[in-house]
Amino acid sequence: MDSDLIIIGGGLVGLTAALACAHKGASVTLLDAQDPDEHLKAEFDGRASAIAASSFQMYRHLGIDERLAGHVQPITDILITDGETGGYISPLSLHFDSQDAGDQPMGFMMENRRLRRALLEAVKDNPKIRMLAPVHITGFDESAAAITVQIDGQDDVIASALIAADGRNSFCRKQSGIGVSTIPYKQKAIVTTVVHEKPHEGTAHELFLPNGPFAILPLTDNRSSIVWTDTPEAIDAAMALPEHMFAAELARRFGNMYGQVGPCAPRWAYPLSLQMAEDYIKGRRVLIGDAAHAIHPIAGQGLNMGLRDAAALADVVYNARSNGLDIGTNLDDMQIWRNFDNRILAASTDIFNRLFSNNIAPIKHARRLGLGLMDKIKPAQSFFIKEAAGLHGELPSLLQ
């Protein structure tokens, strides 16, 4: 056996899972199809992520917070508004501040490439993790005692369990014959970064527009990350706009909230859909992150679900390993632990998006009323905030 675990996928979830499991004593072989240095280029991934308070707690345990110093923007307020572009903005808005989550920031914004660099450096410094990248995986072979990954032009790698963190189009999931159910949203999103004149004071804005939410998420250095969700036609048109016209459209959406606003990064467009794997575990294989569940990025929960998978996995592997059990056949608790959380959250963000992304008059009135009501009802708000911060339910040890 080469290691306790093989993790496929060197993205944010795969890297975090490797560090979390190694922190709990397991040895890990981490495989990725891409050259890690490619990942670190700004052009590779223009996205930024909101890391929930609980996920960030795991990064503190893993020493990643220190490697991120200077690149983390705490989110201290969330302002949700129902409105229409360029015109009337509903006076009934929903305001969360961090006191609702118990006086700590609700989340932490950072650029994906910063997080990726911090995780990669930690992986390179960790003697329990061996990273092989880029590699081309050709197949898997599972025996009574182990799982083998075949790699083009290199030696096979053998471990007790295989963790697939290879994303929405997971090769491992397909090879394992695990089906998915998919709901396309008929929406796309543009992600970019803007720089603005006035400070954001750590506030995240989620503006619900008829075609989809427009999110303004605070980054360091008077910058904000934009997630603009709209119909595919609108997004394609916005992608085709010349720089100055795109800038003008963004400025119109911001109004005069932050003074002068201008894009400071390339634009990226992503199609949106909800996709759930039918199983998370098969034999010695476990799916985590987007390979298991890819959700609408509406509440910033997609990555955080993957990070919670990583934390749960670390506990399950630790429990098996510290009791001398065969890790690969003792992964069932992972399914029990994650299933409920993942499906509930996927369903709730789906409903949330459908509720807000339309212009049907009764629903519009109801949701305006709903937002106004929720703002008045502290317990409902507190539930929502704690869910967004990942602080609900029994938590894996690294999230505490």
Binding site: A144, A145, G324, L325, D326
Partner: protein, 255 residues
Amino acid sequence: MAHADIAPDHISSVSVDPKEMESFARMAADWWNPSGKFKPLHVMNAFRIGFIKATLCEHFHRDPDIDTPLKGLRILDIGCGGGLLCEPLTRLGASITGVDALENNLKTAKTHANQMGLDIDYRHGTIEQLVQSGEAPFDAVLNMEVIEHVANPPDFMKDCGAMVREGGLLICSTINRTFKAFAFAIVGAEYVLRWLPRGTHHYDKLVKPSELRLWIKDAGLTPEPPIGMSLNPLTENWSFSDDLSINYITVGTKA
């Protein structure tokens, strides 16, 4: 489980004929499937290994957080079955001898250990025969869910005690003879939930903590207070409790 009436004439090491390998590999796959027919045993196993590891680490002053905390300890598992305890304890560093009176169990255990690349000394026979063979006493003897199946528990316990070295310990788990145990462990587990085959346990062979205590004393060991183990049938989670009315564990030490 140790059924004395079908034991061989003498104790012997276990080997598996290559011609039999395939059928034993199939049986091993059954034994070792955590959600298969031995599921209740697997659920209990993870819990009791945690107890055994903690007890051994405390008694022998080992650091439980290292990879092989039991390194160098010689442990005897009586009624080892398919090796559900032997394999994990081997991974934790111990040298394990597993004894069982049923040859098929041992061949299954041996086949699986070979598949997993684990070196475990499996012996076919009874504890009495092991004592007679002149085997050196062990650091620890495990006697888990066995005593309620043997023909003569006091004599059986004396043989177990003889296999514990001075300064070593015995860990013994069993089922109490109470109405609650009858209702849950026999009616519930065997008839209602079908977790165990019918006839696995007989009420009159169940063991009261006071009886076990006496047998351990008579075997020359000092019994510690018994610890209750409770199963939540809904979550299928085991936990320790003061409730000795169904499953319980007693540790005995040899001065």
